[in-house]
């Protein structure tokens, strides 16, 4: 299954409190994703919380878009990605 980087912008900043509410919001996303068979691996967030970079596994970019719509999340750009490991080049 291909891996995608999904870039999103939150001009007002993204806040997810570490409370029951926050937990519920996270679980909601995960549950919605199962409808489209996409899996949220992890997300990197900028310091000002205005941009996120989300790593997703999924069958197609279209499935990632539909999941975003279900979750009410914006999508700026979807790229297919693979891993470059810097230490792979280091002599052992």
């Amino acid at each position: 299954m291909p891996r995608y980087m999904v870039e999103r912008t939150f001009p007002g900043g993204l806040e997810i409190p570490t409370t029951t509410e926050g937990r519920k919001a996270m679980l909601g996303v995960v549950e919605n994703n199962t409808v489209e068979q996409v899996f949220w691996v992890q997300t990197f967030v900028t310091d000002d919380h205005s941009k996120t970079f989300c790593v997703y596994d999924g069958p197609s970019p279209e499935a990632v878009r539909r999941a975003a719509e279900l979750n009410g999340l914006p999508v700026d750009r979807i790229s297919e990605i693979s891993v470059l490991d810097p230490y792979f080049y280091v002599e052992k």
Partner: protein, 863 residues
């Protein structure tokens, strides 16, 4: 007694209440064999008062099922329902009654895991439309059998997401329930549970066999039968070889028994009465008895059934053929299976027709060489319609060899024409053309024949596919004249259809639309669904190519309904692929993706034009959205399409050109583009010349539009961006409007940006933003991602729409039907809205909507 089923019964009763107020539903009742699905449905039906109309139907475990068996069952209670009509008309008639009745209607179709193709079409048809009727359609099936490539699985998959579809699962009995059933016996509930896994049928059967716990359930069933007298037992055995049920009169005849013997079998609980017929209480019991029959006894019973059914006034061909096949007697199979196959083929039940023809073809000696050759040809034609051209070729070649040996010249020429059609689907055009030429030579020696007329039409078809106007019209005319000489309605029709098709793709498109509409209407009058489907397919795909979208979409959608009803899987897939391409061109990209994915999931021919057309549309959506996966997909489609005609490949090639142009490396696209451009110039197709020419121009390979390029492309290439934008607006292609506007001054570019942002066309939008910035234009509109969040509370456009409807007091069902999305999707949107607004109820959501200015009237709470 129905243990642990109250909740399921209550659920069914609720569906009936909904149906009475015009909210019908399809209820899929799943469970393993013997779980108690039938008992559940019967308990539901038995508890109804007189108000609903109840229609009971079932599918049969025949080697090859009788087409539309449940609908035939229904018809006994639907006066005036004419089953001899087209299945689609029969379905529409039933739907009409269920929509306009005063009483709610409960329709039961049992055992759809045995359904024939036509019955599955019925379920698909009703399932999609039942939501606004007064019907509850209850279907039972064994979910452990509907797996893998089972034909019912696809239908269930299509119906499951609809908000009017409900699923019930009948679980195994719990140990408590088993203990309660075994209460007054000496049987150990734990042992009973171990033997039966809580299977309701097994539990009751084992308990009824009395005394000791048997080693197997089959033993339990046979133990009950063995307690019967000799003649009663013969009745039971007779019923066991009849799938589903056996008429009482036939049962008496086959067992040489008296009504008392039947009564004995009934009162022992081995058989149950079902109107004028007898059946086992469960299919598992029938199978147990049939499996235990000695071979000679089984053969004798099948032969006797054949004899009885042959003298029956109704002459049920599928049932007769079933017993012939089970008896394994070649003389009887070749006598009965071909007729059953013809009947199935005429009804459009192609899978069933194939099974019957194959059964007969196992005995070529008994058939004789001429019938064998004819059956091979019929089988080949059915297989081609089922999207299996390779298998079709094998059969048609057998037919050709047979006709050659028998020196049946006209039949041989006809078979060669069929071979060409199968080879075309296999993309072996040269070979097909050779077969066609041989056919023409053979026919010219025979004078004016129907086959000559048909072959001339096929030649015209070939030229139309190559997009060569003059020879296509020439052969259409030749065919038409033969049709006139012979007074043949068939030849007249195919000529009319081909003239219209040629016009729509390489002639006068308006005239083409008019002729094809006339052809479809004439096919309707002739009551020939194959012709209706062919005419609609040409109007849809040709209309799409000529960008007559409204006409095309209507034809494609009706074409899909008709093709589904006659198992033309190839046409279904091809029509859907054109819906994908049209949706792409109209900027309805979510729809384009959905159609393309549907084709990908359902088409068998991974190299065929339906797949290429659908995947090219998907690839082009990715290009225009800037999504990954576009290049690989379009390169694959470009490679596949090289052995097809140019019209099947130009979309993928232009998509690649667009992608590389957007990425500022146009040289990567040149090779394929120039090859395709040369091919386009070898046609009379203005849209091929226009679109491929446009990309040649955009990449700087040509300076002027080629002759005969379609107007909107030609205008833009000539520098008239305004005229081009107006032409595209008229046709209804928003992305192309923006592309033309982008060639204009800054005001036009800003207008283009607005269109592109709404489409979600990021790459071209970014490109135009850069151009504007370098031209010194400030105040660019914010990028759409920033704007989405300018929506109140960070809701997406779709969520705002849903919130507005919530604020108007609509329920999820109503919202789903207003927005044409499933109820499940609405529920997801609603929960996302709640989270973002920090609310927990609809009333709170409506208040929040008023606060942030969404929705407009009457929802502001007091205070």
């Amino acid at each position: 007694m129905l243990l642990e089923r109250e909740e399921l019964l209550g659920y069914l009763a609720d569906r009936l209440v909904d149906a009475a107020s015009g909210r019908g539903s399809l209820v899929l009742v799943a469970g393993e064999a013997g779980a108690g699905k039938t008992s559940l449905v019967r308990a539901f039906v038995d508890a109804l008062d007189d108000s609903p109309l109840v229609l009971l139907g079932a599918c049969d475990p025949l080697t090859t099922p009788r087409p539309l068996s449940p609908v035939r069952d229904f018809s006994q209670q639907l006066p005036g329902l004419d089953l001899e009509r087209d299945p689609i008309d029969v379905f529409a008639d039933i739907l009409e009654r269920v929509r306009h009745t005063i009483r709610p209607v409960v329709m039961v179709v049992e055992d759809i895991h045995w359904a024939d193709a036509a019955t599955l079409d019925f379920l698909r048809y009703m399932g999609r439309r039942i939501g606004d009727s007064k019907g509850v359609l209850v279907c039972t099936y064994r979910d452990d059998e509907v797996v893998g490539t089972h034909p019912a699985r696809q239908v269930l998959g299509q119906l499951a997401p609809l908000s009017s579809t409900h699923r019930l699962h009948v679980p195994a009995l719990s140990i408590d329930a088993v203990a309660q059933l075994a209460r007054d016996t000496s049987v150990d509930p734990e042992e009973l549970m171990r033997l039966t896994d809580g299977n309701a049928f097994f539990v009751t059967e084992v308990l009824a066999s009395g005394g000791e716990l048997p080693a197997t359930v089959q033993e339990a069933v046979l133990a009950r039968v063995s307690q019967l007298g000799e003649r009663s037992r013969r009745v039971v055995e007779g019923v066991s070889v009849a799938p589903r049920s056996l008429e009482i009169a036939h049962a008496l005849a086959i067992a040489d028994a008296s009504p008392d013997d039947v009564d004995a079998a009934l009162s022992a609980g081995v058989l149950v009465g079902d109107g004028h017929a007898l059946r086992f209480r469960h299919e598992l019991a029938r199978a147990a008895v049939e499996d235990a029959l000695p071979p000679a006894r089984s053969l004798g019973l099948h032969l006797r059934m054949l004899e009885i059914l042959e003298h029956d006034a109704e002459r049920d061909l599928a049932r007769i053929a079933h017993h012939a096949i089970r008896a394994g007697r070649s003389d009887l199979i070749v006598e009965h299976a071909p007729a059953a196959g013809d009947e199935a083929a005429a009804k459009g039940a192609r899978y069933e027709a194939v099974k019957f023809y194959r059964a007969a073809l196992r005995y070529p000696e008994a058939l004789g060489p001429e019938r064998t050759a004819r059956l091979h040809l019929k089988l080949g034609m059915e297989l081609r319609a089922l999207d299996r051209p390779g298998d079709s070729e094998v059969e048609v070649r057998q037919a050709i060899a047979g006709f050659r040996r028998l020196e049946l010249v006209e039949e041989l020429a006809n078979a060669l024409g069929q071979l060409q059609a199968s080879l075309w689907n296999l993309r072996r055009f040269e070979e097909g053309w050779a077969a066609m030429n041989e056919a023409l030579q053979l026919l010219e020696s025979l004078g004016v024949t129907e086959t000559l007329g048909y072959t001339l039409y096929r030649v015209a078809h070939h030229h139309m596919l190559s997009r060569h106007a003059a020879p296509a019209f020439e052969y259409v005319e030749k065919a038409r004249r033969i049709g006139e000489q012979l007074g043949s309605r068939t030849i007249a029709w195919v000529s009319l259809m081909m003239e219209g098709t040629t016009h729509i793709v390489v002639g006068d498109a308006d005239r083409g639309v008019e002729l094809l509409r006339r052809a479809v209407a004439e096919a309707d009058r002739m009551d020939n669904r194959g012709f209706v489907s062919a005419g609609l397919g040409m109007l849809g795909s040709g209309g799409g190519e000529a960008r007559r979208y409204e006409v095309a979409i209507e034809a494609l959608q009706r074409g899909i309904d008709v093709a589904l009803a006659i198992d033309e899987d190839y046409t279904v897939a091809y029509n859907r692929s054109w819906l994908a391409r049209i949706a792409f061109e109209q900027g309805r990209w979510d729809d384009a993706v959905r159609y393309a994915e549907l084709v990908e999931r359902t088409t068998l021919q991974r190299e065929g034009i339906a797949y290429i057309t659908a995947m090219s549309a998907l690839g082009r959506v990715r290009v225009r959205r800037g999504d990954p996966g576009a290049v690989d997909l379009l390169e694959e489609m470009t490679a596949l399409s090289k052995s097809h005609e140019v019209q099947h490949g130009w979309n993928a090639v232009c998509g690649l050109a667009e992608h590389h142009w957007l990425a500022d490396r146009p040289e990567a696209a040149i090779g394929d583009l120039e090859f395709t451009y040369r091919r386009a110039l070898d046609t009379d197709s203005q849209w091929a010349r226009g679109e491929v020419g446009f990309w040649m121009w955009r990449l700087g390979r040509i300076q002027e539009p080629p002759d005969g390029a379609a107007e909107p492309f030609a205008l833009q290439m000539s520098g008239d961006w305004e005229g081009s934008a107006a032409a595209w607006r008229e046709i209804g292609c928003p992305y192309e409007v923006a592309t033309a506007l982008a060639d204009g001054p800054p005001e036009a570019k800003l207008e283009a940006l607005d269109i592109l942002d709404r489409l979600g066309a990021r790459p071209l939008g970014d490109r135009i933003r850069n151009e504007l910035r370098s031209q010194g234009v400030d105040h660019l509109p914010p990028r759409p991602s920033d704007r989405t969040l300018a929506n109140p509370a960070g809701l997406t456009d779709r969520q705002l729409e849903v919130l507005r409807l919530i604020a108007e007091g609509l329920g999820n069902d109503e919202i789903a039907s207003m927005l044409y999305i499933s109820k499940k999707t609405v529920e997801h949107h609603v929960s996302a809205i709640y989270t973002k607004l920090g609310v927990a109820t609809r009333v709170e959501a409506a208040r929040a909507a008023a606060r942030i200015g969404v929705g407009n009237r009457g929802v502001t709470a007091p205070g």
